[in-house]
């Protein structure tokens, strides 16, 4: 084990290198670019034995990655915001093809107007594409999740692509100390990729041909089963990872001081780490509050939320928005806990478009619920300025 002190993107790239992908396709976009720059350097230096493809768009990134994965090799790429949006068709392609691709998306506000700051709408807008989705809140968690993600994606019960998202700049460009394990241990946890199927001229099959309605629903159902398997395997593989490497970041959800809590904050990504500070401060003031940090939103942790929500007030802090509906976490949580005894879900839209969300903001949002000044059926836009109409 060695200690690395660097920005989140370089830490993530180091994890990717240790997973030994064989084909990497890349297209630059801020603030992800450091990841693919670093991987290009590894390949040129001989520190990573892989084919590195500089392609001409994100749509092509995912097409090249899907094709390489279809031939039966381990693949990786990274993107951000507009790039992820441009990939949308191919994200469905990867999901429906059951290809175990791993990708990092650095959450960045979608334009116009151009912005570089973190907002989770880019990832959340891809929630229906069949990708398992992690949100991580530190460089160490990013490192560990990359290694776990390949193992999970390639598991024959899962066989789905995995997206790992983290916040622009607060994670991607912030230096943090990270423990780097030995390569031998990574190799032992993550053996070489054995594809469940691949295109091979010795066994010619047509992949992706016309599929009638007689089969399509069943195809989606098997993907659903893959997601259900992931629900079980994420905590299991997390524990196996802990045994080997000594770190466990949680299953689908990381619970923090929830045991005796009356109120539980729900947050993701870097808002999740900020919320831990808020919980500590509110606890010091005597409030019985905890945090459920959603590490995984596909599959959605319905069962965990039903358990956590029993006789508690949940406060969803969404840094994403489906305009005309609201924050995804708020809505999906409400639907998950429907009928759960004594559970109300309060919602805030905060930091949408990248505005900073501090622990003080989170404390104020929570206090408003504690004092009865918020309603569970009204989502509040936190820190909203006067706009002068629509």
């Amino acid at each position: 084990m060695t200690l690395m002190f660097d920005v989140g993107n370089k830490v993530a790239a180091k994890a990717v290198q240790m997973c030994k992908p064989e084909v990497i396709a890349a297209y630059p976009i801020t603030p992800q670019t450091v990841i693919v720059e670093e991987l290009a350097r590894f390949v040129e230096n001989g520190e990573l034995d892989a084919e590195y493809l500089c392609v001409e768009s994100e749509h092509s990134v995912m097409a090249a990655t899907c094709a390489a994965a279809s031939m039966g090799v381990r693949t990786f790429t990274a993107t951000s915001s507009q790039g992820l949006a441009f990939m949308h068709e191919m994200l469905h392609w990867a999901g429906l093809s059951r290809l175990p691709i791993v990708m990092i998306n650095v959450n960045r506000t979608l334009g116009p107007g151009w912005s570089l700051w973190p907002d989770e709408t880019d990832s959340m807008a891809q929630r229906d594409t069949g990708w398992i989705q992690f949100f991580v809140s530190s460089a160490q968690e990013a490192f560990d999740t990359v290694i776990l993600a390949f193992r999970l994606a390639e598991h024959h019960e899962v066989q789905l692509p995995v997206l790992i998202s983290y916040s622009a700049f607060t994670i991607s460009h912030t230096m943090m100390p990270v423990e780097i394990p030995e390569q031998d241990d990574v190799d032992a946890f993550l053996p070489p990729f054995k594809p469940y199927w691949r295109l091979d001229w010795r066994n010619p099959v047509t992949f992706g041909n016309v599929l009638s309605d007689e089969y399509h629903m069943e195809k989606r159902y098997t993907m659903h089963l893959g997601m259900e398997a992931a629900k079980r395997l994420i905590p299991d593989l997390g524990r196996e990872y802990e045994q080997r490497f000594g770190r466990y970041h949680g299953g689908l959800i990381e619970e923090y001081r929830t045991d005796d809590a009356d109120y539980v904050l729900l947050a993701m990504a870097s808002v999740g780490s900020e919320a831990k500070v808020a919980v500590d401060n509110l606890r010091e003031q005597g409030h019985r509050v905890g945090l459920a940090r959603l590490r995984v939103v596909r599959p959605y942790p319905d069962e965990d939320l039903r358990r956590i929500g029993r006789k508690r007030k949940l406060i969803a802090l969404d840094r994403n928005i489906s305009v005309g509906s609201g924050g995804w976490m708020y809505h999906e949580t409400r639907s998950a806990v429907m009928g759960v005894e004594g559970c109300d879900v309060y919602g805030y839209l905060c930091g949408v478009g990248g505005r900073d969300v501090t622990y003080e903001d989170i404390e104020q949002m929570a206090l408003k619920v504690f004092t009865g000044d918020a309603r569970p059926d009204v989502v509040e836009w936190w820190d909203l300025k006067q706009t002068g109409g629509n």
């Binding site: 064989e22 084909v23 396709a25 892989a50 084919e51 493809l53 500089c54 392609v55 001409e56 768009s57 749509h59 092509s60 990134v61 097409a63 090249a64 990655t65 899907c66 094709a67 390489a68 994965a69 279809s70 031939m71 039966g72 090799v73 693949t75 068709e89 191919m90 392609w93 295109l199 091979d200 001229w201 066994n203 010619p204 099959v205 047509t206 992949f207 992706g208 041909n209 016309v210 599929l211 009638s212 089969y215």
Partner: protein, 307 residues
């Protein structure tokens, strides 16, 4: 090679749901004969992807990766990279795309694959329309042609995609026709023998899309060449040579037939002849073909620097 000497092995089997007299599957069958079984076919959305396949059956004797419309070239880059990792550099990777998947939506990723030196063959089977979606105009549709998005005839001329590919400085660019199958076969084999990105474009008359009787399909392809509406040539390392009838035309040994002989047999140009002749349009089309051949002479003389 004479037709009787072509390999007996079929890698494109009967049973595909194409229209009768389909030149897409005719040229694909010949292409696979020329390439052999160590081939991976990438098929972006097109007639091939929809008529040739229907789970759980397939007419193909080679593995096929169906691909999104825009992504043929990029998928080839990924497949070739993976095959290299697997130590299978000797497997042919062939993108089989229609003119929409080449001239229009597929242009960017094809251009990218060419520029990054992917070792593959991109085949554009050009029937000058979006035939699979019901005969809409594409960037390859010639001026004046009726389509279901140009009811009064297309008002713009086609692009010159082989020239765009020549400008990518490829080691091999060739055009061929469904009606000159031995020439097509030779060009596929030639492309397979060269490392790097190769571009082939096949002119394939489409009886339902162009509105002519299906039994005249091969004749229609020959007329396209004889009138100069289509030219057969190849550029080997940038050196351009015209082939067969097109070479005779270029060398002045044969006159081009008037373009009207080709147009008047096709329902898509009927409005240029009936109820009255559109002299201006017909003269314009002939002038366009004449100018194209002036350009071909320059192309044959100068070629294109490669590498």
């Amino acid at each position: 090679m004479a037709i009787k000497d072509l390999p007996r092995e079929e890698l494109m089997h009967p049973g595909a749901g194409s229209c009768p007299a389909c030149t897409d599957l005719l040229t694909l069958r010949m292409t696979l004969k020329a390439l052999g079984p160590k081939t991976v076919l990438v098929t972006p959305a097109s007639c091939t992807a929809s008529v040739a396949c229907g789970y759980p059956k397939t007419p193909f004797g080679v593995p096929v990766l169906t691909m999104a419309f825009a992504a043929g070239g990029a998928a080839a880059s990924g497949a070739v990279a993976a095959l290299h990792r697997l130590g299978e550099d000797d497997v042919n990777v062939v993108v089989w795309a229609g003119d929409g998947g080449t001239y229009d939506i597929g242009l960017q990723s094809m251009s990218g694959a060419m520029e990054r030196g992917t070792n593959f063959i991109f085949v554009c089977y050009n029937n000058e329309i979006y035939s699979n979606t019901g005969v809409q105009r594409s960037g390859a549709t010639p001026f004046g042609a009726w389509t279901t998005t140009t009811w009064k005839g297309k008002v713009d001329q086609r692009k010159d995609m082989p020239a765009i590919m020549l400008a990518h400085r490829l080691p091999y660019v060739a055009t061929a026709s469904a009606s000159y199958i031995e020439d097509l076969y030779r060009k596929v084999q030639k492309a397979a023998s060269i490392r790097g990105p190769k571009y082939l474009e096949f002119h394939i008359p489409c009886a339902p899309g162009w509105r002519f009787p299906m039994e005249r399909t091969i004749e229609m392809g020959r007329l396209a060449v004889e009138t100069g509406a289509w030219a057969l040539f190849e550029a080997d390392d940038g050196k351009v040579e015209f082939n067969l009838r097109s070479k005779q035309i270029l060398d002045g040994k044969t006159q081009r037939k008037p373009i009207e002989e080709y147009l008047e047999l096709q329902g898509r140009f009927a409005h240029l002849f009936r109820p009255e002749r559109d002299e201006e349009a017909l003269a314009g089309i002939q002038q366009f073909i004449d100018r194209e051949w002036e350009r071909y002479k320059q192309l044959a003389a100068c070629g294109m620097s490669v590498g």
